[in-house]
Symmetry: C2
Subunit: 163 residues, 2 copies
């Protein structure tokens, strides 16, 4: 390369690296959510996601809740056990499929949801309000398109010689 290095970025602009920006944003959003949740109790972020899904009626069977939450199988199993131990949820056999189980909120679980849901909803509105109408219009399709593009590495040649 015969080009002198740029003053700040030196050849490439890290601000234009999409995956890096997404990761940074994700980290900040998680930190913000943790701050809000921590004000009202001792729930962790994955715990809250599970409670929210069940409380909102999105799902109650274990597999459906797990897939909605986007949590790893193993991690999900461990998180459920903690939630049961702490008295936020109950599990009971699932009618029609003995491999799964049903998840039910205890009064403590419902109370946590009642406290937190309004604040997290307000936060969602706060975030959406930070976007311009143009940005709001395209952000979700853009995320979906990127998620699909992230599923494959077929755009690369096969490594060195094919093995």
């Amino acid at each position: 390369m015969s080009k002198d290095k740029e003053p700040v970025t030196g050849g490439f602009d890290i601000n234009l690296l999409l995956p890096f920006q997404i990761t940074q944003l994700s980290t900040r959003l998680a930190a913000q959510a943790r701050r809000i949740i921590a004000r009202h109790g001792d729930l962790t972020l994955p715990q809250w996601r599970i409670i929210r899904i069940v409380a909102a009626g999105v799902a109650s069977r274990s597999t459906a809740v797990r897939k909605s939450s986007g949590i790893d199988k193993g991690q999900f199993s461990k998180t459920i056990n903690v939630l049961v131990d702490q008295g936020y949820i109950l599990t009971r056999p699932c009618a029609g499929d003995q491999r799964q189980f049903e998840i039910v909120l205890t009064p403590k679980g419902h109370a946590a949801h009642e406290r937190l849901a309004p604040e997290l909803d307000a936060r969602q509105r706060h975030l959406m309000a930070a976007l311009t109408p143009d940005q709001r219009a395209v952000i979700f399709p853009a995320i979906r398109a990127l998620a699909e593009a992230a599923e494959t590495i077929d755009f690369l040649e096969t490594p060195s010689t094919e093995d």
Copy 2:
């Protein structure tokens, strides 16, 4: 709202939850990057980020590299030690500030960068190509706006009674 709940989502649509979508996308992008990096060696994702920043000339002083990488202070320290042990980088005293150090790539570090940079660049183009021109035009400002909105929770009332 007097509207009945929707059939599938039961009151809210998890697909409209921005932080959740961002987190999922971030996870998928990281997995894609790991797959690419794993084809060419044993570098981890944070290790690669550091090498890329130094190789591109974005920064070489420890604090500048750390902040560019967005990695936690403690994590950064440990990752640097591993990179030194594995022979990818060298550290030397930093002229003018004895608290910091300079980071220099070894030949092994340069070689890793030469191998991986083209593939990661191709991946970046692949991702950008998945977006429509409209989406490309607003994605970065949107990310910036959300990152700023994620920095504060001032939009919430003070919790219960002020403590």
